[in-house]
Symmetry: C2
Subunit: 439 residues, 2 copies
């Protein structure tokens, strides 16, 4: 199966664990059997590979998410990067061209496109495989999955099939209805539109060539910024008559708010935390290294990270967005392709960061114009490169890096260092990147 | 007026702002007119000095609290240090001997003894002055303040006076009663025993010499550890017939729990925090540098510090102690006589600390056996002394301190440095202190 996982999202609704560079699909809140935690992205990827280890997975995402995706899925994951946001049709066309021109997949093969963030189990992945198969047969240009509704939701669009409870031609699509209308749709056998669909690569490329003047993936990528914003629904779905829908009757949940997310956690406390005996139906999600104590709480969610602390009645947690948009604090925790970056102290003209490099990884070779840095290695081994001078580094070693000085570290084992930044203007934009050529 | 302020307390009930070295009286939660915050200790001291600037104040406390008291009241505050805990009679005898033998106050003068932690206003301090005066007259050996009860509390002992509503001889003392009994006491004119009393210095010293074999303050201090534990009530009050009580009818609150403390705060949010419109009667007390967001909260207290996070229904907050006793985490924030010490990161074999020195102050000249340290100066100016070598230090300067190496910093301006500690065993006990002799 060829599959494109769409990874988007702004990360406001699950603050403080999500932020501008850590969308909800990257938060590690699902406990695995080994006691470690995994994210929705990791869960989805693992599920696809478990059903069919030969599945050909590509992640379609923006450049800001590539580091964290590589951190969570490994360096070798295929990523189709959108240079900027241009709505769903250009994004899907670009990823489809990537499959054809970079991964050399034939125009006659199908591809499944699916969002990365629903909470699902293995029957869902089997249904994706089945969707791929029915798309490959070629009887319909577009094949969708329809989720069997569990209640008359106002949150989803509905798909009305010609025949109930089986693979069927789509009769019509309906916009998000009110509850009464939703009830009527459901009587007719309507299904939720989960944004999961499959098509032959040639089908979408043909439409793309009609709408956009481009040669191939590389050309499309280069002119991406000049493209018009256009949705996949408008460009494809609304103009297509040959659409089929495959019903899915298993677990499918949208974990977009703390309220729905905590319902899917298999424990009440994640991280350091204690509830008293009077606390009921409450949750602690704690990424800090100090304890959270909950006393007499009912239906309360406590979420703590280096970015801040949320304490919310469960029902209210879905209204978080405008409050978080008002916070002007910088992001304090980031997963990078090479490890993690945690701001542990901020002063007026200095900032202290714990940098953790994964074994075999290195940060980009770079310099800053407006700040000096001091590194103190606290664990692990590696090699520092400062203005092209290499040096083996171990715990206790101190490296001073003046403004303008090129620097990086290559971690041999997992390596942690405390970085003290000193300067009048400390910004993430102050960074010059160089090509590293080692002797 | 001579006054001894008793500063004790273990600091569990106001966790995470209070801890083993920061008892409740040191937490800065009371907003002053200039927008800064002050502690109960600072509020009490200021109140005494406002009523009479010549008041002769001595703080009686344990050695663990001397640093924070000097930090909050200044280097010149008189402190009588208990070498260890030996119950109330030895503690009061020691402080009284300190007044006589160190501060050279005559045995014929009175002294008022009062706990440092009730929340009071200026009329209370005026009553302390009056207590001092009536004690000085010498008609009674012991003079107490009795608080006019506002409700039939089970939390306090009661004093029954011979005559209601005026300075009167005490008829009898009553242990903490149940509510019904308390109501009856109150009908008789009973007053709460607030643990505030006055006596002539010679009176307590005479009793002390009868019970303990000692020469003077210095001798008593040296043999303090060998003394029997004995309460002031048992040694003095129960054996004394000549006791008078002065009623006090003003504001007097015991702010021992988050519930009572927040009631006396004049704002709902201290530090970085936001409530949504649905939140009611809730409080944020946040010492961290990141925001707390409260949504849909009713009667909830959120308190956050580098030591941890408490989220508690107001009523439940008084039952916090056993939970906090189970936390084995080290203290992350401490006020020292020279400034503050904040642990900003803990790893297996390293720890990073933000050290802030007040202008003109220096830490003790010391060394560690089992850890190296790296200092990076992030703001301010001062002088470092490393193995007797002096050096002027400024932001960006790095000082490496190997295990065994003697070190200190003298701050010229306020000075902040990031200290990275590296070693297999990092403990507060690993500290050798030296006398500093500068050339």
């Amino acid at each position: 199966m060829n599959i494109i996982l769409l990874s988007g999202g702004s990360g406001k609704r699950l603050w403080p664990l999500s932020n501008d560079i850590r969308s909800k699909q990257f938060i590690k809140v699902f406990k695995k059997e080994d006691g470690e935690y995994e994210s929705m992205l990791q869960r989805m990827y693992k599920g696809i590979k478990e059903v069919n280890k030969d599945s050909n997975v590509t992640i379609a995402t923006s450049s800001t998410q590539t580091s964290i995706i590589k951190n969570q899925l490994g360096e070798n994951i295929d990523i189709s990067i959108e240079p900027c946001r241009r709505d769903t049709f250009p994004a899907i066309a670009l990823a489809t061209a990537y499959l054809h021109d970079v991964k050399k997949i034939s125009t006659d093969e199908s591809v499944v496109v699916c969002p990365v963030d629903p909470y699902v189990e293995s029957d869902y992945f089997k249904t994706l495989e089945k969707l791929y198969e029915v798309s490959n047969k070629g009887n319909f240009n577009l094949s969708l999955i329809g989720i069997k509704p569990t209640y008359p939701s106002e949150k989803y669009g509905y798909i009305i099939p010609e025949e109930k409870d089986k693979l069927s031609k789509v009769k019509t699509f309906k916009e998000k209805p009110n509850v009464e209308t939703a009830k009527e749709y459901i009587k007719e056998g309507a299904l939720w539109n989960a944004g999961v669909f499959a098509y032959k690569i040639g089908y979408v490329l043909d439409i793309a060539h009609k709408l956009i003047d481009f040669e191939d993936y590389y050309d499309l990528y280069d002119k991406y910024e000049t493209l018009n914003k256009i949705s996949f629904d408008y460009a494809v779905v609304e103009k297509e008559d040959q659409i089929q829908v495959l019903p899915f009757d298993g677990l499918w949940k949208d974990l977009g708010t703390w309220n729905t997310l905590t319902e899917s956690m298999n424990e009440r406390i994640m991280g350091k935390g204690v509830f008293d005996e009077k606390s009921k139906n409450s949750y602690i999600i704690n990424e800090l290294n100090v304890p959270v104590l909950g006393m007499g709480l009912e239906d309360i969610i406590v979420a703590a990270s280096p970015d801040g602390i949320l304490v919310s009645k469960k029902d209210e947690s879905s209204y978080i967005k405008p409050y978080v948009e008002n916070f002007k604090e910088q992001v304090r925790y980031a997963e990078k392709s090479w490890g993690t970056y945690k701001v542990i102290n901020i002063e007026d003209e200095s900032q202290t960061v714990l940098v953790t490099l994964n074994p075999g990884h290195s940060m980009k070779y770079h310099s800053h114009d407006n700040r000096d840095e001091v590194w103190t290695v606290v664990s692990g081994e590696g090699v520092s490169i400062i203005d092209d001078m290499e040096q083996i580094i171990r715990p206790g070693d101190v490296i001073t890096i003046d403004a303008g000085c090129k620097h990086t570290v290559l971690a041999t084992t997992q390596l942690k260092l405390v970085e003290v930044q000193i300067g009048k203007e400390i910004t993430v934009e102050d960074k010059n990147v160089y090509k590293l050529t080692r002797k």
